[in-house]
Symmetry: C2
Amino acid sequence: MQTDLVAALDIGGTKIAGALVDGHGRILARAQRPTPAQEDGESVMRAVEEVLGELAASPLWTRACALGIGSAGPVDASAGTVSPVNVPGWRDFPLVERVRAVTGDLPVELIGDGVAITAAEHWQGAARGHDNALCMVVSTGVGGGLVLDGRLHPGPTGNAGHIGHISVDLDGDPCPCGARGCVERIASGPNIARRALDGGWRPGPDGDASAAAVAAAARAGDPVAVASFERAARALAAGIAATATLVEIDIAVVGGGVGKAGDVLFAPLRRALAEYATLSFVRGLTVVPARMGTDAGLVGAAAAALARRADPTAAGV
Amino acid sequence: MQTDLVAALDIGGTKIAGALVDGHGRILARAQRPTPAQEDGESVMRAVEEVLGELAASPLWTRACALGIGSAGPVDASAGTVSPVNVPGWRDFPLVERVRAVTGDLPVELIGDGVAITAAEHWQGAARGHDNALCMVVSTGVGGGLVLDGRLHPGPTGNAGHIGHISVDLDGDPCPCGARGCVERIASGPNIARRALDGGWRPGPDGDASAAAVAAAARAGDPVAVASFERAARALAAGIAATATLVEIDIAVVGGGVGKAGDVLFAPLRRALAEYATLSFVRGLTVVPARMGTDAGLVGAAAAALARRADPTAAGV
């Protein structure tokens, strides 16, 4: 029997996706359910079980040697539990134990979704070939993950790289997390849109008041829209520079919906990075857009499971 | 011939210290010269050679199996060069090559001084037994280093953990490094003293306007002195919380002259840490005073050299 595939789960507030992934990162089978995010924990778990059941019905399932799970955070990899902010029915939910009840002896690797995206970008995407990298998702929230010394660094609980909740403005606006001036509080899509609206920007006839609409306005030269992206870029730059100064990364990969804004984001981000990343050992830092698409979470969860299989002492891709 | 000792060098802007250290961190021989910091690079190197010469004259020298160097930064471990801010005669100075000319085949390990202090605290001090730790020196400047997954994390150039130059106030005061609102710009000893003086605090009859004098005034209840330490504590807390959120540390060790201020620093630091370290996986973070004394740099340089000897792929203690 061949055991050359890994099963992967990507658990978010909107959908629960599953796949069988080969050693090249190709998805050979997939299954998906909407996340019943506002229902009780057992209902959410049933959706996970349906996804796993559909994968297990594939003739390829017997070739799976491990299962990787990337979940919306916070997660606790050491306890095998998850508490996704957007899934209130799951608080310290014993996901690994419950999944094992379905999948039997398959080794299970649990990581946060930012860490999963990072594993994917390092394996197949923009961070490939870089031994020290930060990968970020800038959308409704701001998440991330780290590659250090050539290996994924999930940290003991699987949450490392959580750049959205470092404070870059210690006297700044309160963040829902309880702190002040967090990167996410300044640079997330909803905060980019809110700041533009506060500054007097108004959506067009379609009523679209999203960060994507603000990006379109910025491209058309609207100064309030430009300023809102510049502010977000400064916060991202301070956070990226802090990360580089703390752990010595040489590349930062920015994905997510806001990451798709292109030059409206990346031009001021690169300017601001030159201001905040000043020490000799961080000056060479580059920042690039993400390359992985919507399957990044699945591919990254697979990568983490494969890496754990290759080196049981540490996740690494 | 026994080869159970390591030679260590601790190179700072004031003194160049050397030692022979055993496998328990005990110093068996030592030598020291003042750093001729304002002289040309060759004069500084001569002082290093004198220290090494004195160590090599010891009958214990033949038992040395490696040499660890902790140097004021920035350093570049990959190139073997150092550019200490306070030693202008050394810019990209090829220290490792020059030292090898004296010590022959002895393997040499170069790290920044903050990384060296961290290696010492992890081996013998307050971070002992912690697999994920940040160790800091808060004095004239603010430096630091990281232990991740049980091993020292110097980073590719030996400068990782440089917490003094992460920005926690992106619109804050310009820092000599070129950025704004760096931890050092708010929390270093000279900045604590400057802020107290700006607020109207005045030194006593002895004229001592140092951070230690501000600490004494704070202990006596002077509100301006208290406020200056509280501001420093907030900046340190934001930086420590950022580090924990990025790489999952469970302890922060604070040493250096400002670290000796005791409760005047640690009480507001612990309060502020609870405000900034809010996510589930960082809430258990503790902050404690350093335990190593003035030999920390030497002991840490020795620890890094020993760790490299045990595992040539990575420094680790």
